[in-house]
């Protein structure tokens, strides 16, 4: 089964990514809720890369590769855009978001709550986000 996909940095490709993850995970006996959570986590990171790191520039590309490793699923999402600075990240205060009417800023919190481990690295100018999830 093909385990990687490359798409241009356009928001319409988020569905392409979700469909790819869903198709890949169909080989495993996951509950509908766990499957949706994993798809959601990958979608959130992909949306951040497309919108924030690459400003929806369809001439730029991001890549997703999935593998089963040591009893875990590993999702590796990479691009050449502006890197995410984890040191600047603060967990959102949802009630404060509501008070000021803020629309965004909760995607990474969702990813952190779904995945077992979330890593952000830059290797030779390429930004890589690795998401680990134990489902077996």
């Amino acid at each position: 089964m093909n385990n990687s996909i490359q798409v241009s940095c356009s928001k319409k490709n988020l569905k392409t990514i979700r469909d790819f993850v869903t198709q890949y995970l169909s080989q495993y006996d996951l509950s509908e809720i766990v499957l949706n959570q994993i798809v959601l986590a990958v979608d959130e990171i992909s949306a951040n890369l497309i919108i924030h790191a690459n400003q929806e520039n369809a001439d730029k590309f991001m890549e997703l590769a999935i593998e089963r490793k040591n009893g875990q699923l590993l999702f590796e999402i990479s691009d050449n855009g502006i890197s995410f600075q984890r040191s600047n990240y603060k967990e959102p205060d949802i009630e404060e978001h509501i008070r000021i009417g803020k629309k965004g800023g909760v995607g990474i919190a969702i990813v952190n709550r779904i995945m077992d481990k979330v890593e952000f690295t830059s290797e030779e100018g390429r930004n890589i986000c690795r998401l680990y999830k134990t489902v077996f």
Partner: protein, 113 residues
């Protein structure tokens, strides 16, 4: 994402059909803004045909909550399937917004107010 709005006496019901993500959340935002200007007493979201929601979709509703409160507009969700409801739960939104199982429950609770 397909958006169908039905206006009744004091309740506007927005039925959302399909996948609500970063590519189309703005459409729901525009619909909520448009409806708010009509000052309904209640806005109910029929989520029975929502097959997917991301943080961008949730964020649209979060961003309107305070304004709805100031305008005395009650927001309610009904018909969410278990995986969509689970996404609300991940962020603790099920404690911050009113969610009922189905339209009948919404109507029943509304008639008791």
């Amino acid at each position: 994402m397909d958006i169908k709005t039905q206006n009744q006496a004091e309740v506007s019901i927005i039925k959302l059909c399909g996948e609500l993500d970063a590519s189309n959340a703005v459409l729901v935002d525009h619909e909520l803004v448009r409806l708010t200007q009509k000052h309904p007493k209640q806005i109910w979201i029929d989520g029975s045909e929502i097959s997917y929601i991301s943080s961008a979709g949730l964020g649209v509703f979060l961003s309107h909550l305070n304004n709805f409160k100031l305008l005395n507009i009650n927001l309610l969700f009904f018909g969410l399937n278990s995986k969509i409801r689970n996404v609300f739960t991940i962020l603790g939104l099920d404690d911050l917004v009113r969610i009922v199982p189905n339209l009948e429950t919404a109507l029943d609770q509304n008639s008791q107010v």
